[in-house]
Symmetry: C2
Subunit: 369 residues, 2 copies
Amino acid sequence: MGRDATKQAEEPDQVPAPAPAKLAADPASGDIASGNQRPATIYDVAREAGVSHQTVTRVLKDYPSIRPHTRERVLEALERLDYRPNLTARSLTTGRSHRIGALTHELQQFGPSSVAQGAAAQARESGYLLDIVSLDMSDVAEIEQALDLLHQHDLAGVLALSSNDEMTEAFGRARFRVPAYIATEEDEPFSAHPSELTTVGFPALVNHLAELGHREFLHVAGPEAWMAARNRARAYTSALEARGLHSAGTIHGDWSARSGYEAIAGLGRDIPATAIVAANDQTALGVLRALHERGLKVPEDVSVTGVDDIPDAAYFTPPLTTLQVDFETQGRNAVQQLLSLMNHSTAPETTTLPSRLVVRRSTGPAARR
Amino acid sequence: MGRDATKQAEEPDQVPAPAPAKLAADPASGDIASGNQRPATIYDVAREAGVSHQTVTRVLKDYPSIRPHTRERVLEALERLDYRPNLTARSLTTGRSHRIGALTHELQQFGPSSVAQGAAAQARESGYLLDIVSLDMSDVAEIEQALDLLHQHDLAGVLALSSNDEMTEAFGRARFRVPAYIATEEDEPFSAHPSELTTVGFPALVNHLAELGHREFLHVAGPEAWMAARNRARAYTSALEARGLHSAGTIHGDWSARSGYEAIAGLGRDIPATAIVAANDQTALGVLRALHERGLKVPEDVSVTGVDDIPDAAYFTPPLTTLQVDFETQGRNAVQQLLSLMNHSTAPETTTLPSRLVVRRSTGPAARR
DNA sequence: TATCCTAATGTTACCGGCAACATTTGGGGC
DNA sequence: GCCCCAAATGTTGCCGGTAACATTAGGATA
């Protein structure tokens, strides 16, 4: 991989570290006004307000029976000392933390990182922090080791943001002491309802292609061990069947442009389809490249579609027709599901934006063969 | 460290519907074999071994003076009860946690997410967990709110993984109680050493273009508020100057393909350069698209280069000449720097792979104008 | 005004580890 | 065999909250 880097440091009040560069941290030394060295505890507040620490707790939790006068004083003390609860201490007694562990894979990819982004945002809004552990999902042992690590950290729940069979297996084996949830794009049996891609996306995509006259399709899928890949492949197939069309085949790739390229490069002299449906936009990019090198024009000779609608897709050559996927909402939903498990409440009806078909220039009338 | 892994792409999943996917909460049955309901504490272990809890602690920390016989028994008890330290409790007393807060932006972008990935991996290998907070960096108030949240969570340190001026400002204002470190690609004054891009990458890139006969260059940069964008722009300029060449201008974009497209689309009838140096590959993709729509051929009419070497770059039309950037190592280094700050040890000499020039087909001999 | 009862507030214990200090060993020197 | 001291191990207290239980205070009642 490449390289390059830079960095620079910064530093706190008390750390006499050797920091090379310097970033303003604490210009002055004697902080009188704001920062007291150690953060205030409920005991400090109690002393300040002239009450017991328990009363402070009660005020903090809006306990009903507290005399207005007392509450007033406590609130003032809280304000004056700029009290912030120590979440660590709280977790220790309550046994509940406010952190959610999230396992993910290949964070560089647009999908997973978008899901993570959404999950992190939702977690934050719900008062949680998301601990992200990115790992090599092909190694069950590594996944289990990661789960073990998460356990020690006393999390409120564990989330699997992107998942393949290994992850499912590791999750199945793990003996969680906290709620755990696997977010997946797969339909049954993992999800009560079929995914938007299955119900809306692929049918719309196939419809679009069929109306352009295409009758022969080829699918370049993701890795078989991935639930999302299987699901998309299945959605592809069933959408074709629903229209009485037939797939000329499915080639498994690994979501990358390279694998899309190789899938097409590996075909014989003739391409057995007029439309190539890639499982994601990256793969489609590789397909476009391979077709270009074969001297085939898109969409005049072959139509190509992707899934995801990554920002770059609109700038491919040609711009890619694809299915939008709302990753961010997926991430948010996953967190909400987990939170509902944690609260033993019924799972909220999550809604995802429908998987919309975005038609660009990579699809056109089927070529006469 | 860096496993190079050419990646196999991957991709997330979508949680379309509510459907409690799979969850494993403790079946709450009688776990006999492995999992005891509550995890064992040092007190449990002490009882099991017939010693005091403090002796257990000593064994755990390899305290010197412990009779072999005693140690033996404690070790056995630890094993038997499958003891795992409760990190929360430990943090409470020691005042040090094993979590690092990381602020980042636009996690969907390849650069930031790769940095995050590397940082997460390094953190894990060092026994830490990375708490990622992804936020809108343009809002100083939001950054400060996030920092506040992080503070409550009692972290061992705080890291800014991708940074612009707002982030710097917020960091400067924040009164950290723990070490904090800003990872950035910028050279002085933020980094002791100039970045690899400045010393190696851009000179090599400009050299390559100059040898192809290019004399007129255009730079499509990242957003001005981003340190990395400024740094790359500066590296570009100084590399040109070093060869006595001159830049025809710098247009600021926002790292996206769209901004690359608009930068070129917004130019007048003539493009004032034979080589366009984009600040990153995405921007370059947009540039390629815009040139294509103008009927200009790459590299026959104009040469285009990027920076980052994202996996897709090799499949652009045409495949992109670019500078490799080792984001993962950047992330790892940032964590190491932070850890050294935390330990009051001298900052480790971090090494990054040099920024290598990857020549593909988007650059060629300068067109006669 | 004495009595009760509940509202209001205070005290104690505990979560699980760690550290300071206290106490018990055991082996060498005499 | 006795003493002594360092080695080996034990006890106590504390980190900052929360919860259970205890106590006090004040108004209503008699």
